[in-house]
């Protein structure tokens, strides 16, 4: 069983993580963009393969926890191929609005095509945006979600503050992201799967093993459940909580703006 490499934890203000590598802060964005330009076309197939379809249940859980109502305005950051947007679009109805935002144009293109093919056109807008500098007025959205996107953001604190700013008072943020498994045995199996199986699967299906190696590394570098909860509180969110899914492989964090 191959062991994951030890992360190089010497990031400073000028540098940040890109998987286990330390890169200059200004480089991370373009490097992440490179990964997602590369995987965009195969993103959905790979998601299904990698998670054995469970990512659909995690996303359903997020929708169920959102408390969305008809007429709500929802911002789906790093919305990628639009899984959450599709569901939200049906639940907010014609009076509501869903904004699918992603920093990556390739992902946004794939998402737009997919949703239009599904006939979802009436209440969805597409915006290419950086989560750190959301191009929306203050107090605009009832719900902001970011699913499997926060770990790719260069400055997470700034992104959380930006999400807080665009939320209406009473609105809520839902962060669905890979996290730390609760049990050591699951952690070990997960490591084996992430560092031995996943890159090979990526190589075989998406012809891009490196991008999936980055995926595994970026998950390990992402803050654990309690740390992310604290970060949300520092950004101003209240009543913050999280729910571990599949033994903590994924966690759904929730916080309110009052």
């Amino acid at each position: 069983m191959s062991q994951p490499h030890q992360p190089n934890d010497n990031s400073s203000n000028d540098s940040t993580h890109f998987g286990y590598q330390t890169v200059k802060t200004e480089e991370k964005e373009s490097k992440v963009a490179g990964v997602f330009h590369s995987v965009a076309q195969q993103y959905d197939i790979m998601n299904d393969l990698m998670s054995m379809g469970i990512h659909r249940l995690w996303k359903r859980f997020t929708i169920d926890a959102s408390g969305v109502r008809p007429g709500n305005k929802v911002l789906d950051i790093a919305g990628g191929t639009g899984d959450l947007t599709a569901k939200f679009s049906k639940l907010v109805g014609r009076e509501g609005k869903v904004i699918l935002a992603d920093i990556n144009s390739s992902m946004l293109d794939v998402g737009r095509t997919k949703l239009r093919d599904k006939g979802l056109v009436q209440n969805i807008d597409y915006v290419q945006a950086n989560a750190e500098y959301l191009p929306f007025e203050d107090n605009t959205f009832d719900i902001v979600t970011i699913a499997f996107g926060l770990r790719n953001v260069t400055n997470k604190e700034r992104a959380l503050a930006s999400m807080y700013r665009v939320l209406k008072p009473g609105g809520r943020l839902l962060v669905l992201e890979f996290s730390k498994p609760e049990h050591e045995i699951i952690n070990k199996l997960y490591d084996f799967y992430s560092f031995s199986v996943l890159p090979k699967m990526g190589e075989l299906v998406a012809k891009d093993g490196d991008s999936y190696k980055y995926l595994a590394e970026s998950i390990r570098m992402h803050p654990d459940q309690e740390t992310l909860k604290s970060m949300m509180e520092e950004a101003g969110f209240e009543h913050t909580s999280y729910k571990n899914l599949t033994d903590g492989i994924v966690a759904l964090h929730k916080g309110y703006k009052f």
């Binding site: 359903r60 169920d64 969305v68 109502r69 008809p70 049906k90």
Partner: protein
């Protein structure tokens, strides 16, 4: 995540049926953006059914519900009989919150489903296998029905036999009399043994 698994399955089946069945589209249209929540006590979580663009969306989002029905699986079957609704509510087996018309429209929609399972199955596996499956289903149904009847009659027979084992008052009186009789015989026997032992002791003393 059982809730999400169940909702996902129900959504897939419901939309599959809507695509293929003959249903009353006007009822479906009237339910646009309406939500019915079902809270079954056995499940412990709600199942919310919304209609969007003539398709069902099944979630656990209760916040948008127009009508919420809280009941159990057993009472759910009785909901079709309108005359029993009041009785079920009185017995606290059923609780309805919100617009009951929404629930009635969903029920009306369910009743309007005219889905030919046999035809749909034959499209996938062919006419002959579909016919065989149908025959198997009829055979299984009759077997289950027979087994159910058999179990019922066996159970009632067992109860009758069991009843015979219960002690009645006259039987108890006879038993008590017999016990008294045995007691008397035993006392008599003890007396005789005591006499014999006394005689034997006297003989021994003479010797």
């Amino acid at each position: 995540m059982y809730q999400q698994i169940l909702c996902s399955l129900i959504e897939k089946i419901a939309n599959g049926v809507v695509n293929k069945a003959e249903i009353d589209r006007s009822v479906l249209a009237s339910l646009e953006q309406k939500t019915l929540s079902l809270e079954l006590r056995e499940l412990g979580f709600p199942i919310c059914c919304s209609v969007n663009e003539q398709r069902f969306v099944i979630t656990g989002v209760v916040e948008r519900s127009d009508c919420t029905i809280s009941t159990d699986i057993k009472s759910l079957k009785l909901l079709q009989k309108e005359q029993q609704l009041t009785e079920l509510i009185r017995q606290e087996q059923l609780d309805i919150k919100g617009d009951i018309k929404v629930a009635q429209q969903f029920a009306q929609l369910a009743e309007s489903f005219n889905f030919d399972w046999g035809k749909e199955l034959s499209n996938h596996i062919g006419d002959v296998p579909a016919y065989k499956v149908e025959q198997l289903q009829i055979w299984l149904k009759s077997k289950f029905s027979f087994a159910q009847q058999q179990i019922k009659s066996d159970a009632s027979e067992w109860l009758v036999h069991e009843k015979n084992l219960l002690v009645t008052l006259p039987e108890l009186a006879v038993f008590s009399e017999q016990v008294q009789s045995v007691k008397a015989d035993l006392a008599d026997l003890e007396q005789r043994i005591a006499t014999l032992l006394a005689d034997h002791q006297a003989d021994e003393d003479i010797k």
